[in-house]
């Protein structure tokens, strides 16, 4: 620790930059896909017909109940090759992170939607709006506001867990950290650097979400 080697850090700086950009890309893609999927799965699980809702419950149970690392390896080495005949680490990382996040986000959606007073749906329906119109215009905007804090947690977890993509050689931030460690047999420089960059990413996201929360305030 005493002889922190800034020179190797400078040498790896462009790689860390590239890795950080990929981490941001993986995270944004997975947040968007995971949120859309999560909404659909959450609505699916809320269907009154228990038989139709069952597949969505099973989905959530599977993705919440198994380790993300196992999911990444399964999807990278087994599922993606099954469809494309080859492997693609970045695609596998996005797919896994999205599917995994969707399971958690669907429960956040469900909790958010169910926390809205029944009277809101009744008022909307009594005005002649369809169920879908009421959901979209009345329930979801209110539910979304309440969902921001738990969604923020989920997005932060997702950014951090994207580091597991290093294990399937997706050249994101942690991948370059490990590469640097492997080349110079130094531990402090690469890992502290990676930690600081992850911290900057998650703090920025928290900041953005709290701004959003304040913008949506109605008082």
């Amino acid at each position: 620790m005493m002889d922190f080697r800034w020179d190797i850090l400078a040498e790896y700086a462009p790689f860390f930059l590239k890795g950080t950009l990929l981490t941001i890309g993986l995270s944004i893609a997975s947040i968007i896909i995971g949120t859309v999927l999560g909404l659909l799965i959450g609505l699916g699980k809320m269907m009154r017909n228990k038989l139709l809702a069952l597949p969505f419950s099973i989905y959530i149970t599977f993705f919440r109940g198994t380790p993300l690392l196992v999911q990444i390896l399964l999807i990278h080495f087994a599922v993606v090759p099954l469809f494309t005949g080859g492997t693609n680490a970045i695609a596998a990382a996005i797919v896994t992170l999205s599917l995994n996040a969707a399971a958690y986000i669907s429960e956040i959606f469900r909790a958010g939607i169910q926390s809205i007073d029944r009277g809101q749906m009744e008022a909307a329906r009594s005005l002649g709006m369809t169920h879908a119109q009421s959901m979209w215009n009345i329930i979801l905007p209110q539910a979304f506001k309440r969902m921001i804090p738990p969604l923020g947690n989920e997005f932060i977890v997702l950014i951090k867990e994207s580091s597991l993509a290093a294990l399937i050689a997706a050249p994101e931030l942690m991948y370059w950290g490990r590469a640097m460690q492997g080349q110079y047999f130094r531990v402090w420089e690469p890992y502290i650097t990676a930690a600081v960059i992850y911290l900057v990413l998650t703090l920025s996201l928290s900041f953005l979400l709290s701004r959003l929360e304040r913008r949506l305030a109605t008082e």
Partner: protein, 240 residues
């Protein structure tokens, strides 16, 4: 025109409405009173199918709600409802609360919906609150906005489910005043309320419900001054 024939409603094994028969004529104001748990709110909610109907028929302007072919959303545009808890949309401004349904359901252009909304707000005395959010309003103001919101769909019938029960006493008057005005303009109204003064003054007919049945109905003066049934007498002696 509302026609209710042999209406039954159960929640599981609990039969809340046993056999309701009522006709509400155009421009009539019918006030429904009764102890809590008598089924009066459930009855009202059956009139626009916020509750699914277990048995019997409800016809609104000749359309049978229990008919599977009936487009319930279309019927609901003709039947406005005002709730005890207001149920304003808190994420939308007052004027947006009023504009939303005409725009989404009737495809009214925004400008026209806004003009109509402002006109309705003027009518309920809240034009200056158009750009406010519901959370900044008092209970009485919220309920008046809720009435304006329901009126924006130009309904033929208005249902009021204990519209003043959640209000502080000093705000009850302003809401009743708007309702009286509506009645004067010839709106067909069904009002579930504990405001006996309103029932007497504005009601064309009062229905007393108890135990899921209509126990007695009459013009207000008769029902209040000369109730025939023991249950009506017992109830009135407690509330008057």
């Amino acid at each position: 025109m509302i026609e209710v024939r042999n209406l039954k409603k159960s929640f599981g094994s609990n039969e809340v409405l046993k056999d309701i028969n009522v006709t509400v004529k155009p421009q009539e104001v019918v006030v429904v009173i009764g102890p809590s748990g008598s089924g009066k709110s459930t009855f009202l909610r059956c009139l626009n199918m916020l509750e699914t109907i277990t048995g019997g028929h409800v016809c609104i302007e000749g359309v049978d709600l229990t008919d599977k072919q009936t487009d319930i959303n279309k019927v609901r545009t003709e039947v406005g409802m005002v709730f005890q808890q207001f149920n304003l949309f808190p994420h939308k401004k007052v004027i947006e609360n009023i504009m939303l349904a005409p725009m989404k359901v009737r495809n009214v252009p925004a400008e026209k919906a806004r003009a109509k909304g402002l006109e309705l707000l003027r009518k309920v005395g809240l034009e200056d609150k158009a750009e406010a959010y519901p959370d900044s309003l008092s209970g009485g103001q919220k309920q008046r906005v809720a009435i304006a919101r329901a009126l924006a769909m130009e309904p033929k019938i208005m249902l009021f489910d204990e519209p003043t029960s959640a209000l502080d006493p000093e705000m009850v008057g302003e809401v009743l005043e708007v309702m009286k005005q509506l009645a004067k303009e010839g709106m067909t109204m069904v009002v579930v309320t504990h405001e006996m003064g309103f029932a007497k003054e504005v009601g064309d007919r009062v229905i007393f419900m108890d135990g899921g049945l209509i126990v007695e109905e009459n013009v207000p003066i008769e029902l209040f001054e000369h109730p025939k049934e023991e249950r009506t007498k017992a109830f009135l002696s407690k509330v008057l």
